[in-house]
């Protein structure tokens, strides 16, 4: 009797073990279609969704490829995004897997109409993480952007992803914006979001074919270009390179970029500087008319990159001169760029309203409801402080040495 009981218990234990072998909803790698980029466009009855899916056989580097593209781009219409993704399963042989998404691209017409419904889906879908970047296809459909093959990186989405990282870090004229950041900026009063733009340069049709990559200078390329200004969730316009930089300076999203000032005194040429550190703070103050005004303090640390003038760089006075000039230039630049956004878009992408909210909550309460229209005429004063640190590997400008002989 006891033996039998023991046997029964053993059987029970073994049965338990069978429960432990795997999860209920395990997803094996070879059943998945890994979506690396998702594009959303406006369609009359809903959305046109584009999914760029990795073709695992072609990405493998060990084996010589059979010549087919390393990603496949599927498009499908649907009333909502999940609806379109479901319908896409009629074409894709595997289950779509969204967790490894790198970029999400919105068509410009969709962005102009408003992104809020798409954002709701993206924030709600638990498979989507928060580590992908969002982009707007400048002047085209998201589908076109996701149909271009890229040199260098086999997966175009990966190429977009890493070029945002690099360009944002070294150039500062593009935006590195993730879903969570966008929603936070959108939801709180007193700030409006921006998104980075991407454009197809060259022939869209040609870009679809893997073959054109054999050329050393591929004709079609994806290019990051400027920031898109949003008022709430709607795109209202584009910023050029210089204005985009200003935005990144203002929201402290610059880790390095370059700039130049004309040579002091007479003479042509310019001095190039690379910005090493930048920190901007906004202070809300009470203006003379009793209404809120703002003081921007921008502290820059820069190195001298190239010198095209005959300047005596061994003289500390020259350094002060360059600093002064850089300060004036940056001040004027920032102030005029802010003014332009105020006037043209009336959209507070710099977060002045938020600064007011955090620093003078009582004042904020008065302007909260119509912030964007007040922002249009708000007084903003910019102050720049520059510190030049290094002059590079040589001291005197070569031009000066040459002329001096």
């Amino acid at each position: 009797m006891k033996e039998r009981l023991r046997g029964l218990m053993l059987a029970g234990l073994l049965l338990h073990a069978s429960l432990l072998t795997g999860c209920w909803n395990r997803r094996e790698l070879n059943d998945l279609a890994v979506v690396v980029a998702l594009g959303v466009d406006l369609e009359e009855t809903g959305y046109l969704v584009t999914a760029q899916v990795v073709n695992p056989n072609e990405v493998r580097s060990q084996r010589s490829s059979s010549g087919s593209a390393s990603v496949v781009t599927y498009t499908e219409k649907g009333v909502s995004i999940p609806d379109a993704l479901q319908r896409m399963l009629g074409k894709v042989p595997r289950q779509l897997y969204l967790s490894h998404l790198r970029v999400m691209v919105f068509g410009e017409s969709l962005a102009r109409k408003g992104l809020i419904d798409v954002l709701d889906y993206a924030a709600r879908e638990h498979d989507l993480r928060n580590d992908f970047y969002m982009l707007v296809a400048k002047g085209s459909k998201a589908r076109d952007v996701l149909s271009v093959v890229t040199p260098f990186e086999k997966i175009p989405a990966e190429s977009l992803f890493s070029s945002i990282m690099v360009s944002n870090k070294k150039w500062a004229a593009t935006g590195r914006i993730k879903l969570q950041h966008f929603i936070t900026v959108l939801d709180r009063g007193g700030s409006n979001p921006v998104l980075s733009g991407v454009r197809v340069e060259g022939d869209k049709k040609k870009g679809r074919n893997n073959d054109f990559l054999r050329e050393i200078r591929p004709e079609t390329m994806l290019k990051h270009e400027g920031l898109a200004v949003f008022r709430k969730d709607k795109l209202v316009g584009w910023l050029g390179e210089d204005d985009s930089k200003t935005v990144n300076y203002m929201i402290n999203n610059v880790s390095g970029t370059t700039g130049f000032v004309p040579c002091p005194g007479r003479g042509k040429g310019s001095i190039g500087v690379s910005i090493m550190q930048s920190k901007t703070s906004i202070k809300a103050v009470k203006g003379e008319d009793g209404k809120p005004a703002f003081k921007v303090r921008h502290v820059l640390e820069a190195n001298v990159d190239d010198v095209q003038c005959e300047l005596d760089l061994s003289d500390p006075g020259s350094i002060t001169l360059i600093e002064k000039e850089l300060e004036d230039l940056a001040r004027g630049n920032t102030a005029s760029n802010i003014r332009e956004v105020q006037r043209k878009f009336a959209s507070d992408i710099y977060g002045f309203g938020e600064a007011l909210h955090r620093q003078m909550p009582k004042e904020w309460a008065k302007y909260k409801s119509e912030w964007d229209s007040y922002f249009k005429t708000a007084k903003i004063e910019v102050n720049v402080e520059v510190a030049l640190r290094k002059v590079g590997s040589i001291l005197q400008p070569l031009k000066k040495d040459m002329e001096g002989q």
Partner: protein
Amino acid sequence: MGSRQFFILTFGLTVGTSILVTPSGLAATAREDAWLGGLAGYMINLGMAAMYIGLVKLFPGQNLFGMFEKAFGKWAGKAVSLLYFVYFLILAGTLLGNLGFFVTSEVLPDTPIDIVQILFLAACVMCAKTGIVVLARLGELMFPWILFFFMVLILALLPQIEWDYIAPVLEGGLGPVLTAGFHASMFQELIVMVVFVPQLASLRNWKGAFLGGLTFGHLLLVSVVLFSVLILGIEQSANSTFPAYALAKTISLGNFLQRIEGILIALWIMTFFLKTMMLFFSMMQGMKTILGLKSASYAVYPIAVVLLLVAWNTYVNSVYIGEVIQKVWGGYAMIHLVAIPLLTGASGLLRRRMKILSENAEPT
């Protein structure tokens, strides 16, 4: 049970569900001051804990249910005990429901929720059969891990802090902070610990352990709330179903240490388990007292079955439960956390006074 174990169990009870659920409500009510709301909740909990300590002094050697019989007489006491039994049942049931919803909505979306809950409940039943002492030891085993995961969470999030997010402080005055604090303080259910006081080996350090566990638990809670505000911002803290999990999802250290939310779930599962088990044991004690059972272990299976039913029927959907938490729960919990303990204490004091009076009256 030693006082260190008591400390850990109190800690588990404090953190349990609160770590997942409260940040969202706090942020919705107190906005940027959510963390102050957490502190206010701590103060309120301290007050309640002081009251419970008073109860234990007033009725030495009695557990919660015994106190009711002493204070209100046999039948009224049983009735009150039944109220608490139901309270604990609903609590444990919603806890189980919450766990199921959390796991199936964030981690295992295609797994039937019943399976998750039944597996968890099976572990609970096993633990319940072995007794509170084993749970206490389990707590000791889990505690370093809970700390470890918590430290990982906090340290990995440090670089993402946006100090701006915390201003303005006290924009709406103290009102919202206190309201939020009151609501948050209704989720720690420290009265459960009163059930276990008689099982302590010695009463020497228990007050320290009790208040220590409570304090330490709140330290964790308030830091999670603070980090939610500092990193997610109030809008997303308030609008997330599980802000603490959303927080874990944002971890990304140098593009290397990321996507570790799957591991950090252990933090919640462990504290969930501690809390569910504390409630489970309380219910067993309650059933024993109410029905006059010889041993509390008879109650294990009935409770398990009813618990599952409660879980399935209370946690209909997350919106419904949110509504209940916002509108009903505060008052309902307050009856059990404040009103009845106060009555019990008052009755106990009155009875003692009468006893002293009658003793004094006799000799004369």
